[in-house]
């Protein structure tokens, strides 16, 4: 249990180090209280609760920053995000290459060249000049 206590307090210390500056003192406060908890089991639960609090506070800050945006701005942010996702997905290889106009143009061009130029080792046959000699 002693090792688990050390591990969870290390986890809390890491969470506090990565927490936003505004919530860091609260994490440090929870860390400090660990020194006054005798029972290892209670200390483990305390540290895990502290990690949960730090994560929740960080998520709340992200949510609040979205809430501060006006509805119109939030709409455009979401729309831009959706457009970025669609653009990313349609650029995946093998999915869209066959539907792009450039691909169709190149495919048709390739077909035309193949039909106009005979393959190596074969004689070109022109119905107008070839009399079967």
């Amino acid at each position: 249990m002693r090792g688990l206590r050390r591990a969870t307090s290390g986890l809390l210390r890491a969470a506090v180090a990565r927490a936003p500056v505004a919530t860091r003192p609260w994490g440090e406060a929870m860390l400090r209280e660990l020194d006054f908890i005798e029972s290892d089991r209670t200390a483990v639960l305390w540290a895990l609760g502290g990690v949960t609090t730090m994560c929740r506070q960080a998520m709340n800050r992200v949510a609040n920053s979205f809430r501060l945006l006006s509805r119109t701005k939030a709409f455009w942010v979401v729309l831009a995000g959706a457009a970025a996702v669609v653009a990313l997905l349609t650029r995946l290889p093998g999915r869209t290459a066959r539907t792009e106009p450039a691909y169709q143009y190149m495919r048709d061009l390739n077909r035309n060249i193949r039909s106009a130029v005979p393959a190596r080792g074969h004689r070109a046959v022109h119905p107008a000049t070839d009399h079967g000699t």
Binding site: T23, W26, E33, F36, L45, G49, T53
Partner: protein, 106 residues
């Protein structure tokens, strides 16, 4: 005084306010409050953070011996004392008086 708009008065929040009201002007430690209320740190600290954000609780680092890290302490502000009394009484009234508010004189 009505609660601030975004302050959610859950039973746990009321419990914390009640505990503060036991000795409204005294500084308290987080672990001591956790033992008194029976709330885990993951429940107690978000409540304390919210109360502090709304100006109902003030915090302070306790000066300790040199070489030892300070300890965080909490107590109600003047506004917090008034709001806590009103909210604890209102909460008890809503619950039909089942919860006895532990209100001490400030």
């Amino acid at each position: 005084m009505p609660p601030p708009p975004s302050l959610r008065l859950s039973p746990q929040t009321v419990l914390v306010l009640e505990t503060f009201l036991d000795a409204p002007r005294h500084w308290r430690y987080g672990y001591d409050m956790s033992r008194e209320t029976g709330l885990k740190s993951g429940t107690l600290y978000p409540i304390l953070i919210r109360l502090a954000d709304h100006g109902l609780v003030e915090t302070q680092w306790e000066a300790t011996d040199p070489g030892r890290p300070p300890r965080h302490m909490y107590r109600l502000t003047a506004e917090g004392r008034q709001a806590a009394r009103e909210q604890v009484q209102a909460f008890a009234a809503r619950r039909g008086g089942r919860s006895t508010p532990r209100i001490a004189e400030a």
